[in-house]
């Protein structure tokens, strides 16, 4: 447990010292989401129709931007060798790194998403559901990012490849996320989609770190 917190704090401190990289995914999210109203009509009824979809696609794309550095930097400077050889199970270390990644890339998304949702005239009643759905989806995206980053850690320029590899796996998140949001916007019951998202989150957080740890070990050989 001590080691878990140690790694978590180390990764958080490292991210804040590279704050320019930290801000990129969030800026990207805001930019894509605000380009759509410019490119199509700014009519309220239309904005409301495609707003949920646009927000979800932007969240997905911006999370792709954040995932390359998760293991690569550690692998290049030799820290990964030291982490693999430490007595702590690698799965625990990877889980700590994933949570740190979620705090710096997922949480800001959760925080700004209601603002963007309002700019798409999503009804106020739908906001809690939308925020909850994003809060459930971002940990899944972080875990998927970790698996992709682990698989490509030894490849040069693996960034684009991770996108291709991981986007299909992110599709369920997109489907359930937009489903929950649309249901809430239209005043229907979103609970089914939210529960599906929650179960996906639990599944990925419990099994994902083990998969990523295994992949890192193989890649570092």
């Amino acid at each position: 447990m001590d080691i878990f917190i140690l790694i978590l704090l180390r990764d958080l401190r490292l991210s804040f010292r590279r704050w320019n990289e930290l801000a990129m995914p969030l800026l990207f999210f805001i930019i894509i989401a605000s380009l759509f109203p410019l490119a199509s009509s700014p009519e309220i009824s239309q904005l409301r129709d495609y707003g949920g979809a646009v927000l979800w696609v932007s969240a997905l794309l911006s999370s792709l931007l954040a995932l390359d550095g998760l293991f690569r930097v550690d692998a290049e400077d030799g820290s990964m060798e030291q982490l693999i050889l430490s007595p702590t199970p690698l799965g625990v270390i990877v889980l700590a790194k994933i949570i740190a990644h979620w705090i710096v890339s997922g949480v800001p998304l959760v925080i700004v998403s209601p603002l963007l949702a309002l700019s798409f005239y999503l009804p106020l009643e739908a906001l809690p559901v939308f925020i909850l759905a994003i809060a459930l989806a971002t940990p899944i995206l972080s875990v998927l990012a970790a698996i992709g980053a682990a698989l490509t850690v030894s490849l040069r320029g693996g960034g684009a490849l991770i996108g291709l590899l991981m986007l299909p796996m992110m599709v369920p998140v997109l489907i359930f996320g937009t489903w929950a949001t649309d249901a809430a916007v239209q005043g229907e019951n979103p609970i089914g989609a939210l529960l599906l998202l929650a179960s996906l989150a639990i599944l990925s957080i419990s099994l994902g770190p083990l998969a990523a740890a295994g992949a890192v070990k193989v890649a570092m050989e």
């Binding site: 140690l6 490292l14 030799g78 060798e81 430490s86 570092m220 050989e221």
Partner: protein, 206 residues
Amino acid sequence: MFNEAASLKTKSLEVWRGGVCLFEGLDFTLESGQVAIVSGANGCGKTTLLRILSGMNQAAGGYVTWRGEKIHRLNAESQAEIAYQGHLDGLKKEFTVLENLRFYQAMSNQKKPLESLLEELRLGPYQNRQVRYLSAGQRRRAALGCMRVKTAKLWLLDEPLTNLDTKGASLISSWISEHAKSGGIAVVATHQRDSLIQTATIEIEL
């Protein structure tokens, strides 16, 4: 606490890389207090051997044991006894020397004060400087400091003298002798055989 006394054994180790057999039938045993110097030309498999000894890579044939257990299936207690220092420093560029040392110290649950170590490494004045502003030799010294704070029983050092000046090289050589005297075991791969040979009890030429 441990089933067997500290010893590192290899049994008919066979190593392949890129479809070429680098060596086969390598057997040796290191007991407490012994130091092995691994020498050989470039590309003869020194680094691969050390990575196999650490358990990070798998050998094509044969096996490595530490305290009688297969090296890649050690329990946490035995794993904590092994310190590996490869070509890469394992330092975080954005952290200061002190932060890096503290991190590795905390990883292995040690709490000793670091002043004397920094003094020995001649890094005292640089302890609060970020690693990215250090020279290659200073980085190497900081990395070896990180290896040292783990207080491990088995040292696996891959070219520890790279980038070090003569003072640094003699410090490392004295660390290795000290380590052996206090019952530790070390395997050191090096090109500067002459600077380290006085510490060796076994020489392995690949």
